[in-house]
């Protein structure tokens, strides 16, 4: 398929269709309405089903039911709507069902605003709903990468029998860029879904989609089974991209999503002025690429973390470097964006006096 100019939200919708997803359940919320709008006409073209649910609570439980039947399914929403889905996401993770959830983050807390933000990092990577579970979380920085990660997400969800979240911000959803959908093969060996509840024929034991285990020993065994799965993700699914880490640098900038693009511009601009900086961009936020970041940090005298929040991923960065390097945070909030000039100023200041660990909320 040739390159096409698409809005991020539409590319995400089309990527799901290309990945073989034929089911979407969702509820309107800004700034991601173009995803359901696109799918409301696109899915019927390929024999799929689009349902506008009465709420995010219902949409996420429709997702849960459809996932239990073994079909590929996804939903999208934005921060307050994702909060409403947390109960179902916990059940989906507990029942070990595959599905894809897209969060086009807007600023919070509460009703917050409708402009881009990255303030749901904790919610996405540290649990979100109740109980011991993890989502696989992927963060795109371009429309093309969003389309690619959505397709990978369906394979990863099926492989691990676990919900996968695409964590984008309002910029990813709204901006237009060229995107290409290439012929692709599954990135994992995917076994048949023998666990799905699809009617119990003949002698097969009944398939029960369930997260209720009243016997504490059985539940502990289930928790340990989930833990082993998360450990396998931590071993095999860490994704990141490094820019300029081959050379020497004084400051390592760490950012994800569209903010990383702003940071890469700042790093490039500074290189012309003799300020040596490199960029580390986590793509998988869970599992977080701790080891790779620790290694990339060895060459730097200090680290700058830039986020559209008051500082969330910065905690994982600090865990990664374990005090070996000063970590400075620079963030914008409320839908305000960081400009390349602002970031460059932070990098320059840090390059000049890397010893102090300062946090600028």
């Amino acid at each position: 398929m040739a390159k096409k100019l698409m809005k991020g939200s539409e590319a995400i919708g089309e990527a799901a269709v290309q990945a073989g997803c034929r089911l979407f359940f969702g509820y309107p919320i800004t700034p991601q309405n173009e995803i359901p709008e696109y799918l409301s006409h696109r899915l019927p073209q390929v024999g799929g089903t689009f349902v506008q649910a009465e709420s995010e609570v219902a949409a996420s439980n429709m997702l849960y039911g459809a996932a239990g039947s073994g079909e590929r399914v996804f939903t999208s929403s934005s921060s307050p709507g994702i909060s409403l889905m947390q109960e179902a996401i916990s059940y989906i993770a507990g029942s070990e069902l595959p599905c894809v959830i897209v969060n086009i983050m807007r600023a919070g807390p509460g009703l917050g605003g409708i402009l881009p933000s990255q303030s749901d990092y904790f919610q996405a990577t540290k649990g979100g709903g109740h109980g011991d579970y993890r989502l696989l979380v992927l963060a795109p920085w371009s429309v093309q990468e969003a389309a690619d990660l959505v397709q990978d997400a369906f394979d990863l969800a099926d492989y691990y029998r676990n919900p996968v979240m695409i964590l984008g911000d309002g910029l990813i959803g709204q901006m237009m860029e060229p995107v290409e959908f290439k012929e692709r093969k599954p990135i994992k060996d995917l076994p048949p879904k023998t666990w799905a509840a699809t009617g119990c024929k003949g002698d097969r034991p009944t398939n029960i989609i369930n997260s209720l285990f009243l016997d504490p020993q059985v539940l502990e065994d289930h928790n340990r089974k989930l833990k082993a799965k998360y450990e396998a993700m931590e071993r095999d699914e860490r994704r990141w991209v490094e820019y300029g880490t081959d050379g020497d640098y004084d400051v390592l900038v760490v950012a994800y999503g569209t903010v990383a693009r702003v940071c890469s511009t700042a790093v490039e601009d500074l290189a012309a002025q003799g300020v040596r900086a490199a960029l580390f961009r986590p793509v998988s936020l869970y599992p977080f690429p701790y080891d790779a970041l620790r290694k990339a940090a060895e060459k730097a005298r200090a680290i700058l973390v830039v986020e559209l929040s008051t500082g969330q991923m910065v905690e994982d960065v600090r865990l990664a470097v374990q005090g070996s390097r000063p970590v400075r945070f620079y963030g914008r909030q409320g839908g305000m964006l960081a400009s390349p000039e602002e970031v460059a100023e932070q990098i320059r200041a840090l390059a000049e006096s890397p010893a102090q660990e300062v946090s600028h909320g």
């Binding site: 089911l23 359940f25 609570v57 039911g65 459809a66 509840a197 398939n207 029960i208 989609i209």
Partner: protein
């Protein structure tokens, strides 16, 4: 001489004992559902949805595939399953707290979208599993652990009549209310349940059967008195019968006064 089996466990019921209290009528209702599935030959393509409440473990008692739902969300889960696999027969089995309280939004919209699923709504006028709290269907004056002086309609409102409420919607195909407090009522209720599954099998839209049920444990009376209590207190407020069926007419508004003055 050849033996003739006149009574046996339905195929769609698992060969296990339930955890239900003595005198509880969940077991009877499970059996009616299972008999209907057997008679319509649907067992092998049925997926049930268990609620949160006394019937939370229903997935252990049927020999069909099952899906556990979170509290109140069974109609949304049913929607997801049926939209993903329209060839399946999908039913939810829900109590009054699950359906008429926390899950009111999901049941109304599932019914109004006309999802091709069947809902078995068990109304025993109380929260069972959590120990006898007031339900949206608790009768006026009925004592519960959260209304120790009896339900005060000035504070809690009148009990919600789900069959009537949902039958105001234009979309649903079939809505009925039965009871199982006597064998005759159970036989009639089974006919409602069979009609509902038959309509789903034929691809008609949303069907719901409300079933009045007893809870001797949380009503605090013996099983025999519980069936009498149901007949005396619940039947006058929750009339039995078919409220909506395919091709039925919309409810006509009544004039301001009957005499046309």
């Amino acid at each position: 001489m050849a033996e003739t089996v006149v009574f046996s466990r339905p195929q769609a019921l698992a060969p296990v004992n339930t955890h239900y209290c003595p005198g509880c009528t969940h077991g009877v209702i499970h059996r009616l559902v299972a008999e209907a599935l057997d008679e319509l030959n649907l067992k092998e393509r049925t997926v049930g949805i268990a609620p949160v409440g006394c019937s939370v473990l229903a997935y252990n008692y049927f020999s069909t595939d099952f899906h556990e739902a979170s509290h109140g969300r069974a109609p949304a889960v049913a929607t997801g399953i049926k939209r993903a696999r329209p060839d399946l027969i999908v039913f939810s089995y829900q109590g009054d707290g699950d359906l008429a309280s926390i899950g009111m939004g999901e049941i109304v919209h599932c019914a109004n979208r006309g999802e091709k699923v069947t809902v078995i709504f068990v109304n025993n006028a109380i929260y069972g599993m959590t120990g006898g709290q007031m339900a949206p269907t608790t009768m006026p004056g009925q004592v519960a652990t959260t209304c120790p002086l009896g339900r005060d309609v000035n504070l809690a409102g009148w009990p919600i009549r789900i069959a009537e409420l949902l039958s105001t919607l234009k979309t649903p195909a079939f809505i009925a209310r039965g009871s199982v407090h006597t064998p005759l009522h159970a036989v009639r209720t089974k006919e409602y349940i069979r009609r509902a599954f038959t309509l789903q099998k034929e691809g008609t839209c949303f069907t719901l059967v409300e079933v009045l049920s007893t809870c001797p444990t949380n009503w605090g009376i013996p099983p025999r008195e519980a069936t009498d209590w149901l007949e005396k207190n619940m039947l006058p407020y929750y009339p039995l019968g078919i409220f909506k069926e395919p091709g039925g007419e919309d409810r006509a508004p009544r004039p301001l006064s009957a005499g046309g003055r």
